[in-house]
Amino acid sequence: MSEVRTLVIDGRDVAANSDQTLLSVARENGIAIPTLCHLEGLTDIGACRLCMVELEGSKKLLPACVTQVQEGMRVVTSSERLLEYRRRVIEMFFLERNHVCAVCVANNSCELQSAARALSLTHFELAPLHPDVAVDATHERFVLDQNRCILCGRCVRVCDEIEGAHVWDIRGRGANARLVSDMGTPWGESTTCTSCGKCVQVCPTGALFEKGRSVAEPKARRPYVPYLVGHHRRA
């Protein structure tokens, strides 16, 4: 049974249901918080750390997508500290794998690229890792390019929660974490994949794409993904 909570976000008094997250209350009130791993209709996991916000009385930053509202919270969603933090998160996404926007299928329709642009990320200060990661093109219709994966886990969740197939998992830890199909068999040999394409539709970057798609060729628009995944936005 949810109850009404009142809190302050960016100096504004807002009301929320007790089972809501900070992210959903903020967005309901027109307060923008950037996200990458969040997708309406899927369980939030707080993976990308882009939605971090400041909470009065707490030294730690909190991920808005998995923090439930509490009575009397005073939250700041945008500050120099948060912008710097978010820029650094985006920078590390780029540098952890091999993101080459100019020759990427997702160029100009990539959420990572858009986030970098929105945050005015103009250059990298850290050194790139340049990992040697493979492209899995064994599937008849789709391709997995690990070079472009940011481990947001949207594909894992949409396949598990909506399609019910649970083809995808993330194996390994830290910089060695990799998206794997069927516990590490090539995608084309997967016995669980239904070839529904939901993972491709929800991928925010060029990590999962339709075979034969060329560079900078847009895929279907994503605003309708909530319908695709079968949930409806809150009123």
Binding site: A102, V103, V105, N107, A134, V135, A137, T138, E140, V143, D145, G188, K211, G212, R213, S214, V215, A216, E217
Partner: protein, 475 residues
């Protein structure tokens, strides 16, 4: 033995240096043209999905990305095993012709006209396109306008001027819209008038450059280019033809897919650029040239009226098979006229607006060869992929590689005539660079179009000590 080193070579596309070797008597013994950069695109492509190749390979160059797009897409067509829809074949031709116009304009007006207009011995500080603009504003404006003409067509077709992603495996990604076609057609008369005006200026002044024309890479060689079945010039399709200096056809109707049978590649320790040669004649006797001079030599006719009139005059004045690389300039200007004519001809056909522009298929073959004529000569892309379409192996044979042996011989010829001993004039060294510019070598994508890089000439004695250093700031 002493050496004279010109590094970097200016007003060319990419990085290079020239070494001139002197014997004990101070006479030029030999000269080498070195390409000092390594790019590694053949390696970078390994492991990538083949559909990415056109755009990835186009990044080799910012001047002639379209030629790479076309050659690459054709190699991918082979891998897919598709027949490209006829409308797409013609649209690919239009965008490649547009690129030849803009690249030729850059080569002639921005990079070479300063030498021709202001003189090979003129002040290097003013010997550039801004110097041209001061002394002959109309010539400079024509060059800039022709470059814009080509770039705008590329943008109207492909969405952007440099590195459009529009040419894709199986065709092109979107059909041509009527308003875009009309906008392009509206720019044709102005471009043609400018090209003819520049051509007339060049022809009127040809006698002034008689000495350079006689010594700028003037030697017999073979010539290679793509030719349609009709004997017309081909830029995006066609078959290979190789003729010798007397016009004997050593290869006719050559299948571009069999390029490895026709050409060998040799590697020299002093350059990153491989030298190709015509295999049946061996190395280095199989020396051949590609690009505008060679294309005009191999074709029976260009195939459009205005250009063929110019071609007739060119052949009447220079002979049927001109063999001086200096005449690349004239050939280049005639090709600009021809490419403008061809763009108009292709767009005048209402079928060009057809919507069937892309064939789609899975991976049906594991190997493909694609060919196109880049502005500076014939370009081959050769890929091997696995059954999933992941690139395993790439071989690129670029125009400047075909011309490498000829460029080296040309540099030596010019140096032997103009350089005597270590006490050498700047104008003489400029001629050594200028002969390289006739080939419009594309050493990569970086362009020092206004020639602001300093040039250093080191004269080195037999013990390796620098006995004299000449330098200039900008040129």
């Amino acid at each position: 033995m002493s050496e004279i080193i010109i590094e970097p070579v200016t007003r060319i596309e990419g990085h290079a240096k020239i070494t001139i070797f002197l014997d004990d008597a101070g006479e030029v013994r030999d000269a080498h043209f070195h390409v000092t950069q390594v790019r590694g695109f053949e390696r970078i492509a390994q492991g990538r999905p083949v559909h990415e190749m056109p755009s990835l390979m186009a990044r080799i160059c910012g001047i002639c990305p379209v030629s790479h797009l076309v050659a690459s897409a054709k190699a991918c067509d082979e891998v897919l095993g598709v027949s490209v829809p006829p409308v797409a074949v013609r649209l690919r031709r239009v965008i490649n012709l547009a690129q030849i116009v803009q690249s030729h304009a850059l080569s002639f007006f921005h990079l070479s006209s300063p030498d021709l207009l202001l003189g090979f011995d003129s002040d290097p500080a003013a010997r550039n396109i801004t110097g041209v603009a001061e002394h002959a504003p109309e010539l400079a404006r024509d060059g800039i306008a022709l470059r814009k003409f080509g770039q705008q067509i590329i943008e109207r077709l492909g969405g952007k001027r440099v590195h459009p992603a529009w040419v894709v495996p199986g065709g092109v990604s979107a059909p041509l819209q009527p308003d875009q076609r009309d906008a392009i057609l509206a720019t044709i008369p102005d471009a043609r008038a400018r090209a003819i005006r520049a051509l007339n200026w060049f022809k009127a002044n040809l006698a002034d450059w008689a000495e350079e024309a006689a010594r700028f890479g003037s030697f017999p060689s073979l010539y290679m280019g793509l030719v349609h079945e009709t004997g017309n010039a081909a830029y995006s399709d066609g078959e290979l033809r190789i003729v010798d200096q007397r016009g004997k056809r050593l290869l006719d109707g050559g299948d571009p897919k069999r390029y490895e049978e026709y050409f060998g590649e040799s590697v020299e320790p002093w350059s990153y650029l491989k030298s190709t040669y015509y295999k049946p004649m061996g190395y280095p006797e199989g020396i051949y040239r590609v690009g505008p001079l060679a294309r005009l030599n191999v074709v029976d006719q260009l195939g459009t009226e205005a250009a063929d009139q110019e071609l007739a005059e060119y052949r009447a004045r220079l002979g049927r098979y001109p063999n001086s690389s200096f005449h690349y300039h004239w050939a280049r200007l005639i090709e600009i006229v021809h490419c403008i004519d061809m763009v108009e001809e292709l767009l005048a056909d209402p079928d060009i607006l057809g919507s069937d522009v892309r064939a789609r298929a899975a991976i049906n073959r594991t190997e493909g060869v694609g060919v196109s004529e880049a502005p500076r000569g014939t370009l081959f892309h050769h890929y091997k992929v696995d059954q999933d379409g992941i690139v395993q192996w790439v071989n690129l044979v670029i125009a400047t590689g075909h011309n490498n042996l000829a460029m080296n011989r040309s540099v030596a010829q010019v140096a032997k005539h103009y350089v005597k001993g270590a006490d050498v004039r700047e104008g003489a060294l400029n001629r050594v660079e200028a002969v390289i510019r006739t080939y419009d070598p594309c050493l990569s994508c970086s362009t020092h179009a206004v020639g602001q890089m300093p040039m250093e000439v080191d004269i080195v004695d037999p013990d390796g000590a620098v006995v004299r250093r000449l330098s200039r700031d900008g040129g």
